[in-house]
């Protein structure tokens, strides 16, 4: 069994293993086929059952799942002709935040997102998806480029947060994030935001100001990680499950509060079970919302974007 299986996914993985074993045997023993079908439906029922009543803390684990699709997986499946663009033109290129131009059904778009990396080597290179200030400044540069060439901006949020380190503080992590918030609030391009995995703190929000904010069904979004909230408020980091619950980090709660506008449904068992299906779901959301936003003039768009923010917590 893969090590990339969450505790509550184990019963599902066991059935999957049986199916795999039977499938191997079935080539010589066709009489096994009905049994395979039976197990498959058993697996589907079990997955549905387990996933229909995930606790908030379990959702956090799905959002952080080691197999969860990341920004580059989505880019590959949703867009054509992606040209990655690098660097903030001031200090460095931050690989924890990727961006570039591509086509969405023929329409030029700017894509910007956190990228956690897949294997150990890549994770280290990408700093586990936790940007330094230069990452946010690259994002800002790309947003302004999109504005210059009149293309929509699509952002994918998936980060535990901005990287807390000495160099980041020296280079102005706070300013980099603050500047993005200001720039995004007045950017003349349409901005579509998709929270795909973990939306952690200011480091997530720095890509999060837009005209439409969607979240994947098992994505999370919060002011701090449940662990950080637990250690600050409860003063015990093992209260993270309680903190996740209390902060209402899950998609349906966030929609109720008006933080997100749309929940993008994931395949049964989570996005990591089927990259193509979740990518298709995201793509249709993007196309639908871009068409919707085209009804507004630039001025109306900016007014709407501002009003959307003013309502929150008023």
């Amino acid at each position: 069994m893969s090590i990339n299986i969450l505790e509550f996914e184990k019963p599902i993985a066991e059935v999957a293993e049986k199916i795999e074993a039977l499938q191997l045997a079935a080539s010589d023993n066709p009489e096994l086929l009905p049994q395979i079908d039976k197990l498959k439906s058993e697996q589907a029922t079990l997955t549905k059952k387990i996933y229909s009543k995930l606790s908030t803390w379990q959702k956090v684990q799905v959002a952080r799942h080691p197999n969860r699709p990341h920004t580059l997986d989505f880019i590959e499946r949703i867009f054509d002709e992606f040209e990655e663009l690098h660097g903030d033109r001031q200090f460095a290129d931050d690989a924890s935040l990727v961006g570039g131009i591509a086509k969405l059904e023929g329409m030029p778009v700017m894509i910007i997102g956190h990228e956690k990396g897949r294997d150990t080597e890549e994770k280290v290179k990408r700093n586990f998806g936790m940007p330094q200030p230069e990452g946010y400044r690259k994002a800002k540069r790309l947003m302004q480029l999109a504005e210059q060439f009149d293309m929509p901006v699509i952002t994918f949020i998936d980060t535990a947060g901005a990287y807390p380190g000495v160099e980041g503080e020296e280079r102005g992590q706070s300013e980099a994030i603050a500047r993005n918030l200001a720039v995004m609030s007045s950017l003349k391009s349409k901005i579509l935001v998709v929270v795909t995995g973990e939306g952690g703190s200011g480091g997530a929000l720095a890509l999060g100001v837009g005209d439409h904010v969607a979240i994947l069904e098992y994505g999370t979004y919060s002011v701090a990680s449940p662990e950080a909230c637990a250690s600050i408020v409860w003063r015990e980091s093992d209260k993270a499950p309680e903190a996740a619950e209390a902060m209402k980090v899950g998609a349906s709660d966030l929609k109720k509060i008006g933080i997100v506008d749309e929940i993008i449904v994931e395949p049964i068992g989570g996005a990591h079970q089927d990259y193509d299906t979740i990518s298709a779901n995201i793509k249709s959301s993007l196309l639908k919302n871009l068409a919707e936003l085209s009804k507004f003039s630039q001025e109306e768009l900016l007014q709407r974007r501002y009003q959307r923010l003013l309502k929150i917590g008023a």
Binding site: A162, Y163, P164, G165, V166, G168, E169, E170, R171, G172, Q173, S174, E175, I177, A178, R179, L181, A182, M184, S185, S186, S201, G202, L205, A206, G208, V209, Y221, S222, V223, A224, A228, C229, I232, V233, W234, R235, K239, E242, A243, A246, M247, K248, V249, L254, I257, I259, R305, Y306, L309, L310, I312, G313, A314
Partner: protein, 286 residues
Amino acid sequence: MNWLTRLIPSIGSNRDSESSKSKVPDGLWNNCPACEAILYQPELEKSLFVCPKCDHHLRIGARTRMSIFFDGGSFQELATKITTKDILKFKDTKSYSQRIKEAVSSTGEEEAIVIGKGKLEGAEIVAAAFEFRYMGGSMGGAVGTKFVQGVDAAIEHKTPLICFSTSGGARMQESMVSLMQMAKTSAALEKLKESKLPYISVMIDPIYGGVSASIAMLGDINIAEPKALVGFAGRRVIEQTVRVDLPEGFQKSEFLLEHGAIDMIVHRRDLRAKVSSILSKLYPTQ
């Protein structure tokens, strides 16, 4: 005292300089938190709560801040009667609504920020000041809303805006509602910019997280009081993550100046004159 114990609302709210008065029965004597010199309260008031022995800038409340900054008697409070909403029905060891009640009764403030208009050397201004004693000056929906109303007032009266920030950051008990106040206040400041009105950010010890990464860092001019701690991540978080000893003076005003984050460090007694001088150049029309 580390950043965390200072910033945790439950234990941080009564650990600033104002509480050390309680050690002294007659209320006339105070201890400097930096050099521990015994300070005579009436003298301290005259020195604007700066220790005459070591120049330490003691923490002061939002209203004291306003009264020493504005021309005498010109301060008029704005953006009042905005109440805190417990949207998440948040409860940890205590309920958020209970924490709000306690913060209101211990500070006499309705929230962690005070907004007002008045005069600085005769010129009309709007100012905002965080109240650190109110849940560590943390920013929730009500703080964001009050700040936006301050921006709106500056635009309406065509005045500059000055904000004195001192805050532990976003307010955990409002989670995403709180986080979004960073975007809301930053967006409002863009409106101020469109109106060509100056925004002066004055950084007061300490500022972290969500307030650092929005209101505090977005000044057209960024000023800090001496030795103020300002950063995105708290010192303990950084130490635990990178496992290094932090350099001397890390995240202090002098460090910020050296790394290009602020324009200047200004002593509290010079603040009025300095801000007035800056505004007379950025916004001479008054």
